[in-house]
Symmetry: C2
Subunit: 440 residues, 2 copies
């Protein structure tokens, strides 16, 4: 990749970060908002300007197709352009923009190669994807677009999901002009690059993470049903305060991690709503969502059992009802070994430090890994923070990640993750890329 | 009051309860909503059908004026037609509808008396009021319309208050056609009847409460500022979770009452919002409102000081900022002694059990008591519950309250609460009313 191309990539990245930009260097670009539309329009323009076909499917996923070999399936690369409310500008957007630029680089390579006949056209076509609603901040659950694509979630059901203002996914996508009807591309493999959202690469001074498995995760949907009453006129002893019970529950969910080894499990309540939510009314109903994650399914199940037992005690103590439902259970997913080796080889050839690591966060690649050979790459996150405005990754790490992704995608379109991998000219390509990156 | 008139009152009461009716016998008729408009239109129609003048002021308060003596000030009776979300059908609405029917009864008495010359026209005119936004569920603070009327809150500031959807009071009132420009009536006195919202009358088998003072109350506006982060990727030790800190705070506010004698103080958190409120994001900011009430200002102040100290500890423990601001401080208000005697005398004359009692809840009468001689009457609440759908008071108690209010209002328009009370024919009137009620 030429220094000029790397520079153009960085300019594009920082331009997209202006869509929904916040005062504190973050972005607020939730799914199917006007800000999301700006980033989608930009994606479509980038693709069409290069003569690529753009498709939008029935759940708002966008695909830019590079049709090198008519009829061949696609290796898909990308991530998502939506963000959390007051989120960071790297989470998701980096992977999409890196995907577009990796595709541009490979498109040039294929076209110049096929012009002079020096190189065969790759076995697979290439596509870049912008998945709908990975974040799930506005519309739950998260990882929606890729999960529908992979057949893990029902499209019709997801189109009916409402945000807090009562707007459905269908209405929101229609309102920004991105409820599509295009046919979904046939997929041969999937690659995604993303910021780590943790401190491991930074601590170990490495540039590339090769994701070997995703944590076991599950959520608990919890409804606390007390009795509405007057905050002034109701004696303390006569109350069935749903918020007092819910507050104990939030602390239970937080403290349950202390029953296990340090960093063995994380748990959180990030979503909670009160009814009627009036300063002078004791709450009737509190709805909250608890999120449990661990490398070990057994630890999550043990934490869940402990919570269920303690929640029942709180319900008895306050003489109220608490309904708990399991949802969004995601089993450990292992990424294919030959994909990990592909990432490691590409990084080493580029002179970049690399290690294998699990992901605690969910990603679109976790859904895609269920249906096609999938690889996931990480680059460092400064201080390990994400889902916040001070999320940060250096330009140098972003470019190193882009070059690695380009190398990996090239191998994949040439069939590297097929059952019998072909490996015609990996080293040559990597040498060339390695020179490019060191020339920056 | 004739049995037919009592029957009409009950029919009207139960009709108004259909505006915003909920499935569980409550009403959801928040300030300046389409449901509130229905009740306001009904009020205006009731008044105009009887030839009374209707005025709407700049904060949406509605007055029905009975102009017996041109130029004389008004004794105002009434309450509010707005409700809490999923509130009860008695809170507020009972006082307005009883006010309208007391006025209708007295209007008939004055007009028939002045026709045959047997009775002098009262010294004061009479008005019935429907105060805007007593509940404060949609627009904080509560007791808004009467407080603006009494000069305790700034009208322009209140018109700019927004609900959770960002709609201002001004826009909401305009949208239902009740942002008025009429001149406010000059007031000589105020009377309000309301359900007790407590168990005292029910326990002691009494029908009328004469409110002698209001509790000292104050609110704390609390902002908990943590750091937004990813629920999956952020280690527990690296978090500054605003919701975990806020949950501890809710429990502190609840438990502080245990430092004092039983029923000496009530405290609550009824309002709380999270940002960004996403299931997979650790909360950045939690905003909540604590409500403290006691008969003793010293107890509230001691509880507040204890909370401030404990909140500072939580902020240090979680390394986050917590901002606490006092607001909505309402001192103890004593109702005038001659008003209490007036209620007691009226009740005794009607054969109704009566006692003096404080109000723990705020009411429009608390605001009006700051500017004119004011009386407040209670009738029983079954089980003491209110601000909820199962709020209940019997028809018999409602009619007894109406008859008592009518007697009290008659004395007031005849100058009973002036510095030198005149008491021309109280006993005669009460005898007549007493017969009416026993005939039901």
């Amino acid at each position: 990749m030429s220094p000029a191309h790397a520079q153009l990539f960085l300019e594009n990245f920082h331009h997209v970060a202006t869509f929904g930009a916040t005062d504190a260097n973050g972005v607020d670009r939730q799914a199917a908002t006007p800000e999301d539309k700006l980033s989608r329009d930009w994606f479509a323009h980038f693709a069409r300007a290069r003569g690529w076909e753009v498709r939008v499917d029935g759940i708002g996923n966008m695909f830019a197709l590079l049709n090198w070999t008519p009829g061949a399936p696609y290796v898909v690369i990308g991530s998502h352009l939506d963000s959390q409310p007051l989120g960071g500008r790297f989470d998701g957007a980096y992977g999409v923009i890196a995907g577009l630029h990796a595709a541009a680089e490979l498109d040039e390579r294929v076209k110049s190669g096929s012009d002079d006949g020096s190189s065969a056209v790759p076995q697979f076509n290439l596509a870049v994807v912008n998945w709908f609603n990975e974040e799930g901040g506005r519309f739950a659950p998260s990882i929606m677009g890729s999960s529908v694509f992979a057949g893990l979630m029902d499209e019709e059901g997801m189109l009916c999901v409402k945000d807090l203002a009562g707007v459905t996914v269908r209405e929101a996508l229609e309102s920004i002009g991105y409820l599509g009807t295009d046919e979904r591309p046939e997929v041969a493999g999937y690659a995604e690059i993303h910021i780590e959202q943790g401190r491991i690469l930074e601590r170990e001074n490495l540039t590339i993470g090769a994701v070997d498995y995703s944590w076991y995760t599950q959520k608990l949907d919890i409804e606390v049903l007390g009795e509405q009453s007057h905050t002034g006129a109701t004696a303390m002893a006569d109350r069935h305060d749903a918020l007092v019970a819910a507050s104990k529950l939030v602390l239970l969910v937080h403290d349950v991690t202390q029953k296990f080894d340090e960093e063995a499990i994380v748990s959180s309540v990030g979503h909670m709503t009160l009814e009627p939510n009036s300063p002078i009314v004791v709450a009737r109903r509190v709805h909250l969502v608890a999120d449990l994650r661990s490398a070990s399914p057994e630890i999550v199940k043990e934490a869940r059992a402990s919570l269920i037992e303690d929640i029942a005690k709180i319900a008895r103590e306050h003489d109220i009802r608490i309904n708990v439902n399991d949802f969004d259970i995601r089993d450990i997913q292992y990424y294919p070994e030959n994909g990990l080796e592909l990432i490691e080889k590409a990084a080493v050839n580029l002179g970049l430090g690399v290690r294998r690591m699990r992901t605690m966060a969910g990603h679109d690649s976790v859904a895609m890994n269920r249906i096609v050979p999938t690889v996931m790459l990480f680059i460092p996150s400064v201080d390990g923070v994400s889902h916040c405005e001070r999320e940060f990754t250096t330009d140098a790490d972003m470019v190193s990640g882009l070059v690695t992704l380009t190398a990996v995608a090239w191998e994949m379109v040439n069939g590297a993750l097929e059952d019998e991998p072909k490996d015609p000219d990996l080293d040559d390509v990597q040498d060339q890329l390695s020179q490019d990156v060191s020339a920056r």
